[in-house]
């Protein structure tokens, strides 16, 4: 063999351990898993690395959200509310970082990728698209954890929030389940937003304040009655926030009318399963549609 054929065979030989292209296309499970893990890492990388390359985010993503949280704290102070409510606001302000990340950088992401012309490259690349979505989620989680932690620590110190945690293990478990349910929802929404096209941007906007209200961002969601119960059953942010509040402010009489943290943890498990499987089914459908129509993944189509 000489020329391009020899070069191609050399590439196959080096990368897949054989010289036959058909043989090289037959990947073992290990090769597939390794490839998907690389895709996951590759998609998470720009989000994590990008944090050090764009310093303005420290001001806009940490300082300004802290001021927003402070504004709601001062509303309660002006109303002479019990001190416990200050803690509710601070926790809500910290966890809202994750919801904003899910809405802006998960749900809308495939649509932005399409607008930038990257989506067709994703569909053409030999990888599972779930790895891309998971990579986005991992990168986003790291980004928003920084903001959430900063808001939580600064606000707690400035406003003297008193936490009362009795079950650290359950707090950690509920937090992880909340994140998996939230980002599972984000992965599912990513496919839906892609289908909705230009409505995606407006959906992003509509998913912020209305969800804050329904989830009880600044007050116990049980106060909303039937509306709150509906939110607990459907919105992972609502159920996660309520469970966290019950756990980190144990014994507060103001959190009433919602299931116990254990039950809410089970709800979060169910949400994680449903949203992740839903995301998997949807991304596969989108992939099929993209190939069949030939236009779904292309800019301006």
């Amino acid at each position: 063999m000489t020329g391009p054929a020899a070069t191609r065979a050399g590439v196959f030989a080096r990368s897949r351990g054989g010289t036959d292209p058909r043989e090289a296309a037959e990947w073992s499970r290990r090769q597939v898993a390794g490839n998907n893990l690389r895709a996951l890492r590759g998609r998470a990388y720009p989000r994590i690395r990008g944090m050090t390359r764009e310093p303005s985010w420290v001001f806009f993503e940490i300082l300004l959200p802290f001021l927003t949280t402070s504004a709601f704290v001062l509303v309660y102070r002006a109303l002479q509310a019990p001190e416990a409510y200050i803690g509710f606001v601070v926790l809500g302000g910290a966890l809202s970082a994750f919801w904003l990340n899910v809405v802006w950088m998960m749900a809308g992401q495939l649509y932005w990728e399409k607008s930038q012309g990257n989506l067709e490259l994703y569909f053409a690349a030999p990888m599972n698209l779930m790895a891309v979505l998971l990579g986005m989620a991992v990168g986003g989680l790291v980004m928003s954890s920084t903001r959430a932690l900063a808001v939580l620590v600064i606000s707690s110190l400035v406003f003297g929030v008193q936490f009362n945690v009795e079950q650290w293990g359950l707090v950690l478990l509920v937090f992880l389940l909340t994140m998996s349910a939230l980002y599972g929802l984000g992965m599912a929404l990513a496919s839906l937003f892609l289908l909705w096209g230009r409505e995606a941007f407006n959906m992003t906007n509509i998913l912020i304040e209305p969800v804050y209200f329904l989830s009880g961002l600044n007050f116990p969601v049980g106060r909303l009655g039937a509306l709150g119960a509906m939110a607990i059953a459907t919105i992972p942010f609502a159920v996660g926030l309520d469970a966290m509040r019950q756990l980190v402010f144990a014994g507060q009489p103001y959190i009433t009318g919602t299931p116990s943290p254990e039950v809410e943890a089970l709800i979060l498990v169910a949400m994680t399963v449903v949203f992740t499987l839903g995301a998997r089914w949807m991304i596969r459908s989108i992939e099929r549609m993209a190939r069949a129509r030939g236009s779904l993944s292309i800019r301006w189509q």
Partner: protein
């Protein structure tokens, strides 16, 4: 050189490249407004557009109203009125300040038209003001509907006979300039930053919540922060509109323990003072925002940021 004269047989008229002064500016502004409105609204049917436009302000309103209702107390009726008016106005402000910034991001990152718009005969600043103005109009619609919702559903009581209509019209109109100026300031920042800047206007507006007396009186703030609120035109805009709608309502600026009362000795500023302060602070912010935008624009041109696309 003779080739560049008006009498050139090739038909080139150098006067056209120099622009037609104010009439060109007005035409550019009108076109940008129309373009902005179409970008905002032409992707869906009007009903859906209205739902998208009003869902955000109404939800923000409800979030605050529930907070007040939970705490209750004798002052809750007054507090409710105070908060409802401030929160409804906030929808217009958020839309106005996000407009120019999102225009930069949309045109640069999504439509990739910013470089073409920049080299078009229209002034870039005028273009952004127009695009921001269209979003401000959509926000004003949200504010109006949120107020109607507050009257019908939340029981906000407004005595239409007592409303100072001329002051309302003047303060609303005077507020548009500083709001768009703050939007231009954010556009200047977004020219320098990356795609993640989509959420910056919301974050900025959220922080301004703290120093504008929108949902609580400035008196609860420490003196230096209160002073910052007093030089903020948005504080005076919200206060002036509140004064016009509920003339005998509580003031966000004066009152016991406030810096205003400590310095001036009066319980609260009167209507004329509020309008004058709105004019002065608005003018200062507008001049500062324009200077910062010009500087950002120069840097963007030098660094090739006008056609940069980013991602994460």
């Amino acid at each position: 050189m003779t080739a560049l004269t008006a009498g050139d047989p090739t038909g080139f008229d150098p006067a056209r490249a120099e622009g037609g002064g104010p009439s060109d500016t007005v035409r550019s502004l009108r076109t940008a407004l129309l373009l902005g409105w179409r970008v905002e609204s032409n992707w869906t049917d009007p009903t859906l557009f209205v739902i998208y436009t009003v869902a955000k302000p109404i939800a923000s309103l409800l979030l605050l109203v529930v907070m007040i209702d939970i705490i209750g107390g004798a002052a809750s009726a007054d507090a409710r009125t105070f908060v409802v008016l401030g929160s409804a106005l906030w929808a217009m402000l958020v839309a106005g300040i996000a407009g120019p910034a999102w225009s930069v991001l949309e045109d640069r990152e999504r439509y990739r038209m910013l470089k073409y718009l920049y080299v078009s005969p229209s002034t870039f600043l005028v273009l952004l003001v127009g695009r921001g103005g269209a979003r401000l109009a959509a926000g004003a619609m949200g504010t109006a509907i949120a107020l109607v919702f507050a009257v019908i559903v939340l029981g906000l009581r407004v005595d239409l006979g007592a409303v100072r209509w001329p002051m309302l019209a003047v303060s609303l109109a005077m507020g548009i300039v500083p709001i768009l100026a703050i939007g231009i300031l954010l556009a200047a920042i977004c020219l320098q930053t990356r795609q993640e800047s989509w959420s910056y206007p919301d974050a900025f507006a959220g922080a301004m919540f703290l120093v504008s007396g929108v949902v609580f009186p400035l008196a609860v703030l420490p003196d230096p922060v209160e002073l910052l609120g007093l030089v903020n035109p948005v504080t005076w805009w919200v206060a002036a509109v509140r004064m016009a709608i509920i003339p005998d309502g509580p003031s966000s600026i004066g009152g016991p323990g406030s810096l205003w009362t400590a310095v001036t000795g009066s319980a609260a500023p009167d209507a004329t003072t509020a309008l004058c302060a709105l004019f002065v602070t608005g003018a200062l912010v507008t001049l500062a925002a324009t200077a910062i935008f010009r500087s950002s624009e120069r840097r963007a041109r030098d660094q090739g940021l006008l056609d940069r696309t980013t991602g994460s």
